[in-house]
């Protein structure tokens, strides 16, 4: 566009004009750039810098090189929470995406009470995580919680859902899926409404079944949305920790702890900012790898309309 404008205004575009133009552009970018530098780039660099020091209680920082990283590799809790985070992502991401797609396809059709149904699916997303965690805490309470009362009807014994390392992660995964799926549904719904109805009609004329149409036409066309949602879901699985504060505090014995929650504990409960910085660097690496994967690799492989 600027090139074309330039052509129309004819050749004698003064040098100062281009200069002014770029100043103008930079000025427009400045507010956003300042905010980004102050609240994103500077903290990132400071975090990496601090991870090479040990700050003792009196506030003096001593350069220790990679010692913090070496300690981290020996820290069994670090490995445990990293592993937990991995399972948490595996547990929440595919299921919530599949569920979101299913719900979106369902409420995209012309059925009675469609608006109400959409609202119902979206409600968990609107609730704050703290409220959600408190509701589900009641569901999972042993003996007199909702879940155990239901089990009681069938004569099953109470189960200590959040107090057993074998079930605690599953319980949290179910809750997060419930909370996240509605949010992703909105993206799928928006994408579905962009699809031309001609395609479906054409497929119907050709005699394609509904499953075949979905598999070969609708789903591939939704690929950009799926990618966007998938990346967001994975990132969320590293960012969501509010529920741990309410429900388990990472217990029992770190069975439900996640990387970010451990960082919080190290930084604020143990007041060990150096080690917290080291752990944060790991989180940064994971998240930026995901972002790079999206922008550098997957974007090129996904079929855009």
């Amino acid at each position: 566009m600027p090139d074309q404008v330039g052509k129309f205004l004819a050749a004698p575009m003064p040098r100062s004009h281009t200069w002014l133009n770029s100043v103008n552009a930079w000025l427009l970018l400045l507010p956003a750039a300042l905010l980004l530098v102050a609240f994103t780039h500077y903290p990132v660099i400071a975090t990496i810098y601090h991870s090479f020091f040990i700050a003792n209680r009196s506030g003096n920082a001593v350069f220790v090189g990679l010692d913090n990283y070496r300690a981290m590799l020996e820290d069994s809790i670090f490995w445990k929470v990293l592993f937990n985070n991995f399972w948490f992502a595996i547990g929440t991401v595919p299921t919530s995406i599949a569920l979101a797609l299913l719900m979106a396809v369902w409420v995209n059709r012309n059925i009675r009470g469609r608006a109400l149904l959409r609202l119902a699916y979206f409600t968990p997303t609107v609730l704050p995580m703290i409220a959600v965690a408190n509701i589900w805490l009641f569901f999972y309470t042993p003996d007199y919680g909702l879940l155990d009362q239901l089990r009681g009807i069938f004569g099953l014994p109470g189960w200590n859902w959040l107090g057993d390392p074998r079930t605690v992660m599953g319980c949290l995964i179910v809750m997060v899926i419930w909370k996240e799926a509605g949010f992703f549904m909105i993206f799928y719904l928006a994408a579905l409404q962009q699809l031309s109805p001609d395609l479906e009609e054409a497929a119907a004329v050709e005699g394609a079944g509904r499953w075949y149409t979905f598999r070969r036409i609708t789903f591939p066309l939704l690929m950009p949305t799926t990618l966007f949602v998938a990346i967001n879901a994975v990132i969320n699985s590293f960012k969501l920790v509010d529920h741990l504060v309410i429900m388990t505090k990472g217990g029992p014995s770190n069975a439900s702890s996640l990387l970010l929650y451990y960082i919080y504990e190290v930084a604020f409960t143990f007041q060990d900012s150096a080690y917290a910085a080291t752990l944060t660097v790991v989180l940064l690496i994971i998240l930026s790898t995901l972002a790079l994967m999206k922008f550098g690799y997957l974007d090129r492989r996904v079929h855009y309309q």
Binding site: R57, S58, S76, I77, T141, P142, D143, Y144, G152, G155, L156, P157, G158, N160, L162, G163, D164, P165, K239, V241, D242, V245, K249, G251, P252, S253, N254, A255, L260, Y264, E265, F268, T269, F270, Q271
Partner: protein, 424 residues
């Protein structure tokens, strides 16, 4: 990152709340935790209001800051942000960390009349006295006691007036108290000992009873792999896994009181700080007893002390001392004990008429106090927050069956040794 944001926001709001005030009055901000049931924030607000009426030149803002860990986190974060509270109720055991952080001042340096410090129960002063200095004043202090449901005892054919006095007795009695429905599901457990939040505290109680100290006076050693500590955890785990009198998995500190009040368990180990909440909520007769013994009776002391922060100005520190003196005066200590169940911190409080008549009508009110002669200072070392996590993780690993007790404690000991190495 949301949590970080929230803490910053909370700090900002606190800052805003402190700033715009007339300069004439001395402003004090106090953080305090609540770890028991009942309307504790109301009681604190009421006390603060009355103090302010008597001392119009001092303005106290009491901020409820969550449980003990949350309150310590908040105080430390506020301090590093340059806005420390002037005083706080924090675990008496946070003293090493607070000294290491250079956060607090010794009380001796602030009071003219040092005889005041001798008025408190020595057991409650133990945690706060390091290197010959007193760093905090006891406030909401406790020991662990055994609550038992007399109606359940009667129903099981046991003497409802007699609580178990030894570990073996507790196991046997608990077995009789377990109730099952026709399909074999347990509807009432024999005994529950909480394993979230303050699991280290309960482990210490068992270790003391088994004749084992958990830490040294210098606060740089813990004894988690001592055979008697391991035996203590073994007994605890056996209650659920071998004898089937306690639920498996973790038992939540906060909901245990409800379990007891709902009749889901016939006995529980909990802080005496919950006594009034249990008394108000119980629809059955209940009793309170000292913890049973193995080699000896015993419980760690527990609960929170009042600390005065270094960041406060001299006027603020003076005002803070005035407030602490007022809060711990015999009448207030008695009132606080009656309203919550915490042990009143001075013997004088038990000689007030309010306390005497209350104890007469409700003898359970003095059990925790009487237990003080058997009490031992609570686990308190450098890097306390970290060490507590290691011990809590070990206990949880053991009661959930994820680890054997000795393996869990060995891992915790190893982690603790690594952290404490720096303080030797």
């Amino acid at each position: 990152m949301r949590i970080f944001g929230r803490i910053i926001l909370a700090a900002a709001i606190t800052t805003l709340a402190i700033l715009p005030r007339p300069a004439s009055a001395v402003d004090l901000t106090m953080y305090y935790p609540v770890a028991v049931g009942g309307a504790v924030t109301k009681i604190i607000d009421d006390l603060v209001d009355r103090f302010q009426k008597e001392n119009p030149d001092i303005k106290v803002t009491a901020v409820y800051a969550g449980n003990y860990t949350d309150t310590m986190t908040k105080a430390m974060t506020a301090m590093k942000g340059g806005q420390p509270p002037q005083l706080s109720v924090l675990l008496s055991t946070d003293v090493f960390t607070l000294i290491d952080e250079n956060a607090i001042v010794p009380i001796e340096d602030l009071v003219a009349d040092k005889a005041w410090l001798k008025e408190f129960y020595p057991a409650f002063m133990a945690n706060g006295q390091i290197n010959g200095k007193t760093w905090s004043i006891p406030f909401q202090r406790s020991t662990i006691v055994l609550y038992w449901n007399k109606d359940a005892f009667k129903e099981a054919g046991l003497d409802p007036e007699k609580a178990p006095a030894s570990w073996d007795e507790m196991t046997e009695i608990a077995k009789k108290l377990v109730k099952k429905d026709p399909s074999g599901n347990v509807t009432r457990w024999g005994v529950e000992i909480p394993t979230t939040g303050y699991a280290y505290w309960m482990l210490q109680a068992l270790a003391i009873e088994n004749g084992q100290k958990l830490m040294n006076d210098a606060g740089n050693e813990v004894y988690l792999t001592a055979p008697k500590t391991v035996a203590a955890l073994n007994y605890w785990v056996d209650l659920s896994r071998k004898h089937g009198v306690m639920p498996t998995g973790t038992i939540d500190w906060a909901t245990l009181r409800t379990d007891f009040l709902e009749g889901k368990t016939a006995m529980m180990w909990h802080t005496t700080g919950n006594l009034t909440a249990v008394k108000d909520g119980a629809k059955f007769n209940f009793g309170v007893a000292m913890l049973p013994s193995k080699e000896r009776r015993g419980s760690p002391t527990g609960g929170g002390n009042l600390y005065i922060f270094k960041g406060a100005s001299p006027e603020q520190q003076k005002a803070a001392v005035k407030f602490v003196l007022w809060m711990t005066a015999p009448e207030r200590a008695a009132e606080w004990s009656i309203k919550t169940g915490y042990v009143a911190v001075t013997p004088a409080a038990y000689k007030t008429s309010a306390m005497e008549s209350y104890a007469k009508s409700f003898p359970a009110a003095t059990v925790a106090r009487d237990q003080l002669v058997h009490a031992v200072a609570e686990l308190s070392v450098h890097e306390n927050g970290r060490i507590y996590k290691f011990v809590n993780d070990a206990v949880q690993g053991a009661v959930t069956g994820a680890q054997k007790p000795d393996e869990a404690l060995a891992a915790a000991q190893q982690q603790a040794d690594r952290v404490l190495r720096a303080y030797k």
